[in-house]
Symmetry: C2
Subunit: 415 residues, 2 copies
């Protein structure tokens, strides 16, 4: 059954180098890297220069190469590479969540048409085998919720702001340590988490969310007073990718959450990621691991390569059921919103107010806001505000978003 | 590829009934139960009496039945059933950790000889897909540690003692709620956890531990003062199945641990289970979910049945590597030991003492004890004492057991 895998590798940065090292140290796998395509030939590499070129066709036209591993940091160039590779009958392994979130159904079809596998475990949750488990383990179970800390950079920053650093300090330190990019937008404004959520929604519910339709709000506007509020209440602020399915409605967004101490994700700190899956039969399950880093991410890539030995392919079983799912925007969220002034706070339209605080430095309100109302503003750019979702129950009870007065209607409508 | 599965089911108790219900509600699986063998024909069942008999051969001799699902509570009867089923070329799915821990290698060989699958995901961690992940996901990664809360009954009791109930009260309540059996020995003295540890050691390291060789110490002797000590220090007492591999040495035991608030397992409460895997490349990973209960356990059984559609079998890849592993007894543990009197405490031979407390009601000591010393006493029966392992570092740092003065020698020896 096992076949020899000959790999053409695109990218030799953090993950690509990690893959090389990890492949070298494993004895059980019959796989070797034949050629590596990078962008800048003049860069120093840890291995022989003969491996490298900037010529994509050296891989794509090589018939001996049966596996393309795409580990570059440019999703448009990756689109060219991956589509060509699939069309030429090569299996593809990728860690590129942005590419996949943008072109999900197209890439899936292309792989299917060309009878090859397209695997991307490393693209969500780094080392956490979440896609594989959604595919393999829950394929006969009906999933209701998927929830995760899926961005290591923001989780690292939030760990530090939780310890008293300001957002700016924490970001700067993360950049100095190489945990955050010079332009941190993708991480800090929740785009990266959204791409991952799109993949999770696909494998959990069989639903393809247009990535434009998913609200992503990050942590750029987090103020010291928000961190202090959380600390004083014994809560933590975590950036969660949130997905739920209620009958044939799917809800999905990325936003900071104020989570209590007995929340499963409370202890998920620094660069760790975690995903919670809720299913009808198997109930709540948490998967936790390193969400980024050279070797952890490479280990997920390696695991995909290893699966190719046995012609493994995702089946997208949840996508095959008859149900037509729709993306839902009509619900309320219980949120904490802080603003630099009471006037600014009053501009936010709450459907129901539960708590208010007005002070010299800032004011805040806890209450229900309709999701459609939230989406009227670009929160990532709204520097006067910070918003965090408040789970209603002390546990990870995703029903909180629908449990208060305003939203009971929706539940009735749906059931 | 997919084949029709015709199931013969043994046992229709908690898990068997759950399986019936779960199978009925899933649409994606081509599997049906043809016959069910139970012990007591006179019991009322939730389905038609025609399904049932007490005649094992009605299943074992039926050529149409290609899958035997063994969900009975008697490991010796299960041995007869499972071996016969494997010999007659039927795939077997079982949740019976005691059976499997006792006859592991024999059952594996039998399945192999007869070219059938023997799957048992539900036997460890209930709904948590830990065996599957160890088999599939870590097969090219080198594992160093496996650590888990794998017994829901004791975790439930410890949750309650953590909240102030006495052990006896908590046990009684667990019994009243059906979480603990009338004879709680298997759970409370750590036998059940040990059976599961034996399976984990096999799939994680490729090592077959004789279940007699593994020390299992439970929570029967936990006193109120121990619970109070933990609470006052901000710690929790958790019963951990502990496995580590250092070069070619394997260490494994079951014992209560005093874990700090930032330990991954700190929030694993009630009937939840959790397993932490530490690997060379993918680093630390935690899997958390319902460790018991009708539907959660049945969901794991269902997942095994589903995998049979694709002729899935465990490969035990870790067992195939050349390395000869040995079970190690020569190391020190950092422990907390309390005793009803100072005299009793003084009878315990510590290699190194770090803290002592002597009081009116009880005394305790924290220090290093050689593992061989610990094993001289039957701690489960020693009502004057309670012992808990103290992890050295604030994280789940399994090296703690080897990090103190006494044990540095061992590390040097081994490396
Ligand atoms: N880093 C992580 O922890 C992590 C975790 C999960 C997923 N990922 C994903 O993994 C992928 C790689 O990330 P990384 O951190 O390894 O990136 P990186 O360190 O920035 O490396 C990117 C690599 O891609 C090469 N490259 C860029 N454009 C190219 C092109 N058009 N053709 C060929 N090669 C090109 C670069 O070449 P030069 O070396 O010549 O510059 C470099 O080797 C990304 O999709 C990322 O989102 C990363
Ligand atoms: N309960 C859990 O949450 C859980 C979790 C993980 C694993 N497991 C494992 O799953 C297995 C079943 O557990 P359970 O809780 O379902 O047990 P249970 O509720 O006590 O039911 C046991 C069933 O086995 C039947 N039985 C006993 N001896 C038999 C024999 N010789 N031949 C045929 N049937 C026999 C009984 O028949 P009658 O109905 O006629 O009495 C009963 O239906 C055990 O191995 C257990 O360790 C259980």
């Amino acid at each position: 059954m096992k076949k020899q895998l000959t790999i053409g590798l695109f990218g030799f940065g953090c993950v690509g180098t990690g893959l090389y090292e990890v492949l070298n140290k494993t004895t059980l796998l019959q796989a070797s890297i034949k050629h590596i395509v990078i962008k800048d030939l003049s860069k120093k590499r840890i291995i022989d220069a003969n491996y490298f070129s900037t010529d994509a066709d050296r891989i794509l036209d090589d018939e001996e190469i049966n596996v393309v591993v795409e580990l570059i940091n440019d999703y448009e160039a990756a689109y060219e590479i991956v589509t060509k590779a699939l069309k030429s009958g090569k299996h593809v392994v990728s860690a590129n969540k942005k590419l996949i979130a943008y072109y999900l159904d197209e890439l899936i079809s292309l792989a299917k048409e060309n009878q090859v596998s397209f695997l991307y475990e490393a693209s969500v949750g780094g080392s956490i085998p979440i896609i594989r488990n959604l595919e393999e383990y829950y394929n006969n179970d009906s999933l209701s919720n998927i929830n995760g800390i899926v961005n290591g950079t923001t989780n690292y920053i939030l760990t530090k702001t939780g310890e008293g650093e300001s957002f700016d300090e924490a970001l700067k330190n993360a950049q100095d340590l190489g945990f955050a990019e010079l332009d941190p937008t993708s991480d800090v404004d929740g785009f990266d988490a959204k791409y991952k959520l799109v993949l999770l929604l696909k494998h959990a519910f069989g639903f393809t969310a247009k990535q434009d339709a998913v609200w992503n709000y990050g942590i750029r506007q987090l103020k010291d007073w928000d961190a202090t509020y959380a600390r004083e209440k014994g809560l933590k602020i975590k950036l969660l990718a949130f997905g739920t399915r209620i009958n044939n409605q799917v809800i999905g967004f990325v936003a900071p959450h104020l989570i209590p101490a007995n929340h499963f994700a409370f202890n998920v700190e620094n660069e760790f990621n975690a995903v919670v899956v809720e299913a009808l039969f198997s109930d709540k399950q948490l998967f936790l691991g390193k969400g980024a880093g050279s070797h952890p991410t490479a280990s997920a890539v390696l695991s995909d390569i290893s699966a190719l030995q046995f012609d493994y392919a995702y089946e997208y079983k949840k996508s095959k059921t008859e149900e037509r799912l729709t993306f839902e925007n009509d619900f309320s969220l219980k949120v904490y919103v802080s603003a630099t002034t009471q006037e600014k706070l009053d501009e936010v339209e709450f459907a129901d107010t539960l708590e208010t605080y007005s002070g010299q430095s800032h004011s805040y309100k806890i209450g229900l806001i309709r999701y459609s109302e939230i989406q009227k503003m670009d929160w990532n750019a709204a520097s006067e505000y910070f918003l965090a979702v408040v789970p209603d129950s002390v546990e990870l009870d995703t029903k909180s978003i629908l449990s208060a007065s305003e939203s009971t209607e929706l539940i009735e409508e749906l059931s």
